[in-house]
């Protein structure tokens, strides 16, 4: 029987060394084929070497352990290591994926190794289960856009990148391939489509008034008719004239 192989991904050198040392004592047959200090090299090792076991730190430079686990082949058993269980991996303790809390305790690692020894060599875990578990974990981790979840907008103008608090933003205006983000005395461009912004902005604070415009309701200064009889909107402190399309005019009907 060939020796089982393992990849270890941990960005801190001392902790990596410690894990290698512990594994050497507890599971001497295990052959550590790669030690990685960032997410990208871990991804490369896990996909190319197809190890039986992968010890993945969840937080790493480049890629997270979760992302690497997703790319791992069906023969690879993933063990996450994390200092602080913010993703509640513990909820999946008895499931498809094992985890170790740092600092890693010898008894806990022995327990984990015992379980892995039984599983190694089998495709005991079907990949759909793993996928589902990873989805759930990632769901806890990701800041998927929900209503009102945007607090900052990062954009650039020329080669200068700026980060605005969302409450500084007066309006968003789609232009060609980008979106203008305008504050009282500044503006940047982003590439996030208005549709996506709208899904994550507070609908009370920001109103869509045109196919190409989302405006902060509290910043509306006045509405005026142009020579062709179309509604236009001015924002406090700015000279921009924003179009209001007929579909959104109901917002401005007199009380």
């Amino acid at each position: 029987m060939t020796r089982p192989q393992a990849v270890i991904a941990e960005d801190e050198e001392a902790q990596r060394r410690k894990l290698v040392e512990l594994l050497g004592e507890i599971w001497p047959e295990l052959e550590i084929v790669a030690q990685c200090e960032d997410g990208l090299s871990a991804l490369e090792s896990v996909t190319s070497l197809q190890p039986a076991v992968a010890y993945l730190d969840i937080r790493m430079p480049g890629l997270t352990g979760l992302e690497i686990a997703r790319a791992a082949g069906p023969g690879t058993h993933v063990v996450f290591t994390t200092a602080y269980d913010e993703y509640a991996v513990s909820a999946f303790d008895h499931g498809a994926i094992d985890y170790l809390l740092k600092p890693i305790k010898r008894e806990r690692l022995e327990q984990s190794v015992a379980r892995l020894k039984q599983r190694v060599g089998s495709h005991s875990v079907n990949s759909t289960t793993i996928g589902a578990v990873l989805d759930a974990l990632q769901g806890r981790m990701a800041s998927r856009p929900t209503l009102g979840s945007i607090r900052w907008i990062t954009g650039s103008l020329g080669n200068i990148t700026k980060m605005f608090g969302i409450d500084e933003v007066l309006f968003f205006q789609a232009q060609d391939k980008h979106v203008r983000v305008v504050t009282l005395d500044d503006e940047v461009q982003i590439r996030t489509p208005l549709r996506e912004l709208l899904a994550a902005l507070d609908p009370e604070a920001f109103w869509r008034i045109h196919r190409s415009v989302i405006v902060r309701a509290a910043a509306i200064h006045r509405i005026e008719l142009d020579v062709e009889g179309k509604l236009q909107l001015r924002v406090k402190g700015r000279t921009d004239l924003l179009p209001v399309s007929s579909a959104y005019q109901y917002r401005f009907k007199p009380m």
Binding site: E12, A14, Y84, I104, T154, G155, N159, M163, T192
Partner: protein
């Protein structure tokens, strides 16, 4: 019921719009002596001018300067009595500080007594006029015209008296009655608003205190550091020791419950830099060559007051989003300077990194949002957080707060430091500006 002082100016939101230079008396309680004297100072010259003008016209018509002088002597006191008698009586009444209901009745009574006095004055004026002025006119326009002048129809007399009484009422404090009746209510509303504002401020302060007390060392940081030490103890005991020392410094600096002044919402820039450098020192042991950092803060600015626990958020962000994700690591610089902003001066404290930089698009950023909220709660529009990508790569985050001239401030800071720190020599001493710790 709460009563307010009659001698102090009213709170500014009790009365509205006294922008005119003659409206200053309205800043005092209606029918108070300060109000009365200020009002008299405005009204008396005005009515005196009317009386003098009347007399001048009369003496010109009659071609007699003596009658003019006489008219001034009689007319001016009578005119002045029109505008002051009611208000003077009402002010007298108010200063008796009767219960509110009785006071109101008495004030109205005083105004009407004032109207009566004015009527008396008007009567005296007409007696004077009939005795001194009318005969002269009769002499001037002898015949039927003079006769008609003397005998006015009773209806006309009644109308004239009616108009006079209305005028006396208006001039003699009648208009002020309206303000007077509203005043108690406005004052109570203003008191209420003050109270609400005071409570709001108190809550704000309590919130800040709570934030400071709840301040935590980021769990990921803490456990990862413990894991590091755990791994180092046997293989590299010296590094393990250094990490423990740095961690102890950081815990002491960042957790207010480990300090004497529990719950204080005040701190100095030096203290906040200490929180950051101890954090960076721990990270430095852990990340080794991947992290470099330096502090470029002039010694003179270190005693300036600076809100707790916001600078460390910026440093944590620089590490977490800038340096850690970068395979080559990065450099973190803490700097501070005084910047002129319009006509005021600001203390600008920056955290600069040369890591992976800002990722375009919307983001959640709760930690930074807390920084902004804290700044707003403390300084309103005068506390800002600006985050900018650098053209050379990386990010600069700058906090600006109002800059206060040293002196008074440094005295307090010095006292605080004396109370907190053991005598010189026992502590390691604050590192001076510009040191390189890479």
């Amino acid at each position: 019921m709460a009563r307010y002082s009659l001698d102090e100016p009213l709170p500014s939101d009790v009365f509205a719009g006294v922008a005119s230079p003659f409206g200053g008396y309205r800043g005092y309680a209606t029918f108070s002596w300060p109000w009365f004297w200020r009002r008299t100072a405005v009204f008396a010259p005005f009515v005196t001018a009317i009386a003098v003008f009347q007399a001048a016209v009369l003496s010109a018509q009659l071609g007699d300067a003596r009658i003019g002088m006489l008219c001034v002597l009689v007319g001016v006191p009578i005119w002045v009595s029109f505008v002051i008698s009611g208000p003077a009586l009402a002010s007298f009444v108010r200063h008796l500080r009767l219960p509110l209901g009785r006071e109101r009745t008495a004030v109205v009574g005083a105004i009407f007594v004032g109207v009566l006095i004015s009527c008396g004055g008007q009567y005296l004026a007409s007696v004077f006029s009939r005795a001194e002025v009318s005969p002269r006119f009769s002499a001037l326009f002898s015949g039927p015209a003079g006769q008609k002048f003397r005998e006015t129809a009773p209806v006309v007399v009644a109308i004239v008296w009616g108009c006079d009484i209305a005028l006396f009422f208006l001039l003699g404090g009648g208009l002020a009655l309206r303000t007077y009746f509203r005043e108690q209510r406005s004052w109570e509303n203003a008191q209420h608003a003050l109270e609400v504002e005071r409570l709001r401020r108190q809550k704000n302060e309590a919130d800040l205190r709570l934030t400071v007390l709840q301040a935590q060392v980021e769990p990921h940081f803490l456990f990862n550091t413990l894991a590091s030490i755990h791994s180092l103890i046997r293989t590299e005991p010296a590094r393990a020791e250094a990490t423990i020392e740095a961690l102890a410094d950081h815990l002491r600096a960042s957790m207010p419950r480990f300090r004497a002044e529990v719950g204080s919402t005040h701190s100095t820039l030096a203290q906040q830099i200490e929180v950051c450098t101890s954090y960076l020192a721990v990270m430095k042991v852990r990340m080794a060559h991947r992290l470099r950092y330096s502090v470029e803060v002039p010694e003179t600015l270190r005693s300036h007051e600076f809100p707790p626990l916001i600078l460390i958020s910026l440093v944590e962000n620089a590490i977490k989003h800038g340096v850690e994700p970068s395979p080559t690591g990065g450099n973190v610089v803490l700097s501070a300077a005084v910047a002129v902003h319009g006509d005021s001066r600001q203390l600008a404290v920056s955290v600069t990194d040369d890591g992976v930089g800002l990722r375009p698009g919307p983001s959640g950023g709760l930690g930074l949002n807390n920084v902004r909220e804290q700044l707003a709660a403390r300084f309103g529009l005068n506390g800002t957080l600006v985050i900018r990508g650098r053209t050379v790569g990386g990010v600069t985050a700058t906090i600006r707060v109002p800059y206060e001239e040293q002196g008074a401030l440094s005295d307090r800071a010095a006292t605080e430091r004396l109370a907190r720190e053991p005598p010189a020599g026992a502590s390691e001493g604050t590192p001076s500006g510009g040191e390189e710790m890479a």
